[in-house]
Symmetry: C2
Subunit: 502 residues, 2 copies
């Protein structure tokens, strides 16, 4: 049966939804970068209005009918059409399965929860937040029940951020990762520590900005299709077919934090830039496919490429030209070691590349136990501290630098944390395939030709946008399933050199 009419209808709705999502992204971008402070209330009204339009269109009975009609066998025959139907089916089911009252309750709990969390964190007193957390966990269980799940309630929550991923799949890759990273951390701890004090000297912000923009340009960040501004929190957002925005901030005490943050967001932006092309333009597919794949691209650029010896072989002389006094006594090798210093610390967002995964594994284990009921909210702070001790060998002195450090749980973002570490795994697996495909990749990077990597990533990952689900994309690109060994090997090889391990 010919379904051209239904396809055309879905495509028209898709185009409208794409424009509305971009519009909503612009309202948020502007809020973070330009909006005067008193305009906040009016801005939430504006965002709510647009989000209301989006919700109505995604959940309309027309959408339900179109999806039903198009899911009949053999109707939508191209990958692109199949992917559009798949994407809206997910969103449609997600919204129609959840009772309206639960949506309102979750939204209200997130709003009051974040206020309570802010207060609790300021006073470093978990008890001021525990009732809210308890309530939120109950709602997230209701949500998982309503959505349906495979083995564990928690699976439904992970699936929201990383479609197709489950709790046992995550455990299967996190368990070996935990063992290997712990061993590597112990080996590093036995070596003399790296001196990175030169990173805290005074680096003028306009020069930091020029240097960051030069690297972005070299990466292929096209300033005629993308833009960078300053904001309190770094993020990437898509506000048009040819309009990707990233933010950075320069008031960090450490020169490398804003730089690597810029490169990280630059990686997200390259993915979004490549995802919007003649095949996907104006559709829901013109964006990265999942949190983990997105994070793989940002971390691949930030850590694998931009913290490598090869990268700084090209860029360190340029950095030294910009900051001759600040770096007068710092060799290229000392600089590379400085930006790769490993030191377990309390705060996830400040963690180095090695210990970072352990912060995530801790949160994953605790989330799983909270949702299943194996861990009570009352016991959470002690469980957090015990696990910090076990995994990182350090114990938070206060709740603020422990269990209260992240906003996620107060906002109801259970199942989100694992995608950060999964990004590292996807990233090194992609990178290994790229290395095999570009034998002189290291030399290209050392010569400042970052486009060699950028073009390969665009060809194999970016340009597909959301056409293939994340695990299918991984196996199409690498020919293999997700395997943590690539990331483990990468860390072991790199830090053996940095820390002169045997």
């Amino acid at each position: 049966m010919n379904r051209d009419r239904e396809l055309a209808q879905l495509q028209a709705i898709d185009r409208e939804l794409t424009l509305l999502e971009q519009n909503s992204a612009l309202l948020e971008w502007d809020e973070e970068t330009q909006m005067p402070s008193e305009a906040l209330e009016g801005r939430s009204d504006q965002i709510s209005l647009i989000q209301g339009y989006i919700y109505d269109k995604k959940t309309s009975s027309l959408m339900g009918e179109l999806l039903d009609a198009l899911e009949e066998d053999g109707v939508h025959c191209t990958d692109v059409q199949r992917a559009i139907v798949r994407t809206y089916r997910r969103e449609y089911d997600r919204t129609v399965k959840i009772p309206r009252q639960l949506v309102l309750d979750l939204s209200h709990a997130a709003s009051t929860g974040q206020a309570a969390w802010t207060g609790a964190r300021e006073q470093s007193d978990f008890s001021l937040f525990s009732n809210n957390l308890e309530h939120m966990i109950g709602l997230k269980r209701d949500y998982a029940e309503a959505m349906g799940y495979g083995e564990h309630l928690y699976d439904a929550l992970i699936d929201e951020y990383e479609p197709g991923m489950s709790s046992s799949m995550v455990s299967a890759v996190f368990d070996p990762l935990k063992v290997s990273v712990s061993e590597l951390l112990s080996a590093v701890a036995a070596q003399p520590q790296i001196d990175d004090s030169f990173l805290y000297r005074d680096y003028p912000r306009d020069l930091q900005d020029s240097f960051g923009r030069m690297i972005l340009r070299d990466m292929g960040f096209d300033f005629s299709r993308a833009q960078m501004a300053e904001a309190v929190h770094p993020f990437t957002t898509t506000v048009g077919y040819d309009d990707i925005r990233i933010t950075t901030r320069y008031d960090e005490p450490m020169v490398s934090s804003p730089l690597f943050s810029t490169i990280h967001e630059g990686g997200h932006a390259l993915y979004e830039l490549g995802a919007s092309n003649s095949t996907t333009r104006g559709t829901v597919l013109a964006q990265g496919v999942s949190m983990a794949v997105h994070e793989s691209q940002s971390r691949l650029w930030e850590n694998v490429i931009a913290r490598s010896e090869e990268f700084w072989h090209h860029y360190y002389p340029r950095m030294k030209d910009l900051f001759p006094e600040q770096l007068s006594d710092v060799t290229e090798q000392a600089f590379v070691r400085g930006v790769n210093k490993v030191e377990p610390s309390m705060i996830r967002v400040n963690a180095d590349e090695v210990s970072y995964s352990l912060h995530i594994i801790l949160r994953f284990e605790l989330e799983k136990a909270l949702i299943s009921g194996d861990l009570t909210v009352t016991d959470l702070p002690a469980a957090w501290n015990d696990m910090m001790k076990e995994l990182l060998g350090i114990v938070p002195a206060t709740d603020a630098e422990g269990v209260l450090q992240d906003v996620h749980w107060s906002a109801g973002l259970f199942g989100y944390f694992p995608t950060y570490a999964l990004g590292n795994l996807f990233g090194s697996q992609f990178y290994r395939t790229m290395e095999l495909s570009i034998p002189d990749l290291g030399r290209q990077i050392a010569a400042g030709n970052l486009r060699a990597a950028g073009s390969w990533l665009n060809e194999h990952i970016y340009r597909h946008g959301s056409i293939y689900p994340s695990l299918e994309l991984l196996s199409r690109v690498t020919g293999e399933q997700l395997d943590p060994q690539y990331f483990i090997d990468y860390l072991n090889r790199k830090y053996a050199a940095i820390y002169h391990l045997d």
Copy 2:
């Protein structure tokens, strides 16, 4: 009969339309200030989508029914309710009266017309644009016929920008203005010319920016509810209840151009800031009531206040502190004379305060004749040059510096020009009332207390937003009808002093 239900329905639609208009304004603001160049096509799609929503809501059959119901006697009893109904009735009628095909033709003619005009202007050849202009004039006549008009077709076009105003009402004030300004120009021309060369020295842009922001702050421009950025063209826009944005540019060769442009836009912004208050918030009334009243507020600040002797008595020492070298040989009096130099010139946007009105009167006369058919497009360039000679005593050497200088006609904006000069008339009439009400106004300004003026304007003009039509507002504030003599007296008094006339 109780119409609470209809009122509530109209208020809900009004609120939604207000948010959509703000959203559309943000899309345009961002396009001018931040958007990467390649994003233009996607941005027009976004704006068209939102404008489509606005159009549908303003012209829905529900809107028609609500307006009909609410217009019955005694139903909407407050000024605010009456004004909301009045405003949407205008927009509803305007859209339902115009055939859809004419709307499309006008939009197409504006788009092709502007392209043709750009080319013609670049080559300074009117003949490359004349067919487009001919076509546009025909469409504007059709538009006026469809809208209906009083005495002249052209009345329908003026009414679009300045509700309630007609061609003969404009003539009644422009005719005496033309005579008086011409006399004043002759008197000035007989005096030695002012030296303003110091305004073209090198003034660092960041200091220009600080100085402009200081004056805005003093005027009452609240940076927690408003924002300024750089753009190619200066403009003011309202992107939220508490979110007014203005733009400026600093690459003018003359230090005073960006400064007075900033103050001009600041005046528009103060009006919009004051128009959004507890009475009007979230309604279509939370904005300036008409082009002429808006322009009265920008020009009142720019010219009447900020080019006055009193103003510079306070600010010149501050300016000299910022630019000690550039102004070392310039006295306060020489500075004030410099920023008030009168010199007839070809280009309207660069015109001084005296000759400006003549540029407008010329366009008004020509528009009227073109629409009525008394002047053909073929004869337009000669008519332009003749009138320049008659009014300003100078003749353009090329079409580019003559008849092709403004974008308005190519875009179909017939009836728009008069509002610029009407703004001067409204402004001086308001100012005169303010002077009578604040006897020491001059001394307050000379002491840097600009808030004295700002508070009065807010109380008498800004806070009413669009509640009263422009001519009603004028008579409520001043107790009189529109009278050009106030502006004429103001110019004669001021320039007699500046140019040492008898």
